[in-house]
């Protein structure tokens, strides 16, 4: 058993990364993720690890690229506008098949938007985000403890598949405080897999090169084929999700992150009223858990997708279905968080067959 510590989600993610063996963190100030950078500034040096405030998000992601190329676990974090700046580097990381972890504490957009929570970067995270055919593994925590615990998964998956893992949080999860169960004694440091491709001096071997420039069309196509095969493997083995009372549900909500928290309350209230509501909470947004969606549709359930966006994840819900299904949407934008009672109204309407 560990001890319970009251932490903000941003701090929990930082501590989770440290316990996952993150050796280098590169940050740049942007709200609402500053507590994470602040936590790392204090705690990374205490563990003898690298903390550096970069001159921009561009520099930060490329410092991550350098440390990842050198073979160590490296991370950066940002929020929506800063994530847009990181996309160039993420595309290069994907092409170089380098493992790295990036946290996006999403805020309201587009443009400078505001500093309130948002979920409108779903497409950017799950469709690649930068140029070229690539994917990132995308993890979506929905509590402060999960912000902590998901970091080990993020680094392990990243190393295992040599992919960028994006942890897609939001301003609410980053800012709010909840108890986190932290192990009492230092955990054994996770041992990343051997990295024979790493750049650390060519003693006793041929020199290693990491480059994505492949001027020969067939060589570049071969890289793309290899990437796609890797993504197919991840898609078939690494989907993660939580299901709540879906077995008998007439109305199945689909939501992640903060929206899923709201849906859990709406579900509880709906059940009190005798409405058979359920929830599918994707934990991996890419790969998206299509199977439970298909299974619920086969049972005749109707769907209510709840997001803090104009409707982005709803695309993946529809793509998951084999045939026609009733898929509705409720979303808020601009940094607004859906209220559970309004979600409940939506559930009630759908349950009544309207």
């Amino acid at each position: 058993m560990g001890k319970k510590i009251l932490m903000a989600g941003n701090e929990a993610a930082g501590e989770g990364a440290i316990q996952a063996g993150c050796m280098a963190y590169y940050g740049y100030p942007i709200t609402p993720q500053n507590e994470l950078t602040g936590y790392m500034a204090v705690h990374m040096p205490r563990h003898g690890r690298v903390f550096l405030q970069a001159e921009s998000e561009l520099a930060a992601i490329n410092m991550v690229l350098g440390s990842a190329a050198a073979g160590v676990r490296a991370m950066t974090s940002s929020s929506s506008p800063g994530m847009s700046l990181k996309q160039e580097g993420i595309s290069y990381l994907a092409a170089l098949e380098l493992p790295a972890v990036v946290i996006n504490v999403q805020r309201g957009g587009p443009g400078l938007g505001n500093i309130a929570p948002g979920q409108a970067d779903y497409w950017q995270a799950t469709r690649g985000g930068g140029h070229g055919d690539y994917r990132c593994i995308v993890l979506a925590p929905h509590s402060v403890h999960e912000m902590f615990s998901i970091m080990t998964t993020a680094f392990d998956l990243s190393d295992k598949y040599r992919m960028v893992t994006i942890v897609l949080g939001d301003g609410r999860l980053g800012q709010m405080m909840e108890p986190v169960e932290v192990p009492d004694s230092p955990q054994p440091q996770p041992q990343p897999p051997p990295k024979p491709w790493a750049l650390n001096g060519c003693k006793g071997r041929h020199s290693n090169k990491l480059h994505s420039l492949l001027l020969n069309e067939d060589r570049l196509e071969a890289l793309n084929v290899r990437l796609q095969q890797n993504y197919a493997l991840v898609a078939s083995t690494e989907t993660r999700y939580e299901e709540v009372q879906t077995a008998d549900a007439d109305v199945v909500m689909v939501a992640y992150g903060t929206s899923a928290r709201v849906c859990k309350e709406a579900l509880r209230q709906a059940r009190k009223l005798g409405i058979k509501a359920g929830l599918i909470r994707p934990i991996t947004l890419w790969p998206f858990p299509a199977q439970p969606i298909r299974a619920a549709a086969a049972r005749g359930a109707k769907f209510l997708v709840v997001e803090m966006s104009a409707g982005q994840m709803i695309d993946d819900v529809r793509l998951s279905l084999d045939g026609p299904a009733d898929v509705r949407f409720f979303g808020r934008m601009g940094g607004n968080v859906p209220q559970w009672d309004v979600v409940l109204e939506n559930i009630t309407t759908i349950a009544k067959g309207k």
Partner: protein, 254 residues
């Protein structure tokens, strides 16, 4: 005369350069500069302890020519990638190799901040006053009046500004340990360039901090002159704009 048994190799390729054809144009300066760097690598015997970073631009394929660990970087982010390597591998020797577009246009922020942090890396900045890889556009270091693909009537300071003198700019910072500008326009200047590169290596190997060597270099293809004329043009037109010399030297500071 039979010399087969007594012939000694007086001048060969450095061990740390790969035996391969390069893609560089006739008369390009990159070949000379690659060679100088690799000669110094051999001199210090540190080939197996190096991680270098190649830029986007004509020298992007440097990773195919250097026989030590080398990483590609996105355009201009070269010093940030080098920072990320050196910070986690402080006992390895790390250098970046950049052109004028990479370093003085798209990567201006990265070089200034890497220099300002005093990163323990060497930066070799090849200034040929033109974008070669992309068909000869104006570089931030193109000289006034220089005709390029994007300044067909010559660089006009009224609309395109003046060439950026990067050594002078970086020399205003406190942190850099060594800054020098050299040219590779003559055997004498090439020897000076080699000495500067050696000093940059020494700066990092002795833990003194950030070093920066700007190498004025010819681009006959996009200066649209033959290679011998390009060397003369380099002396006649570039050196007056970019004076050679040492701008910071940790050994001279009190």
């Amino acid at each position: 005369m039979d010399t087969s048994s007594s012939m000694e190799l007086a001048y060969g390729k450095p061990d740390s350069i790969r035996r391969t054809r390069t893609h560089y144009c006739a008369g390009c300066g990159h070949g000379i500069i690659h060679r100088l760097i690799c000669e110094i690598v051999d001199e210090f015997g540190i080939r197996e302890n190096i991680v270098s970073v190649a830029p986007v631009g004509c020298a992007v394929l440097a990773y195919d020519y250097f026989d030590f660990d080398t990483c590609e970087a996105p355009h201009g982010r070269t010093p940030a990638v080098a920072t990320g390597i050196k910070r986690v591998l402080p006992d390895r020797f790390v250098f970046s190799y950049q052109g004028d577009g990479d370093l003085a246009a798209i990567g201006t922020a990265e070089i200034i901040h890497a220099a300002n942090r005093g990163e323990h890396i060497c930066v070799f900045f090849v200034n040929n006053a033109v974008y070669g890889m992309t068909q000869g556009q104006m570089a931030p270091t193109s000289i006034v009046g220089q005709q390029t693909a994007t300044t067909p009537n010559g660089r006009d300071p009224k609309t395109e500004g003046y060439p950026i003198r990067v050594c002078e700019l970086l020399a205003t910072l406190e942190a850099p340990a060594y800054i020098e500008r050299v040219a590779i326009s003559s055997p004498q200047n090439i020897r000076r360039a080699k000495k500067a590169i050696r000093k940059a290596f020494k700066t990092q190997l002795e833990g003194k901090g950030f070093s920066f060597i700007e190498l004025l270099s010819p681009c006959p293809t996009y200066w649209r002159v033959d290679p011998i004329v390009a060397m003369k043009e380099l002396e006649k037109r570039m050196i007056p704009v970019f004076p050679l010399g040492i701008f910071k030297d940790w050994e001279q500071e009190t």
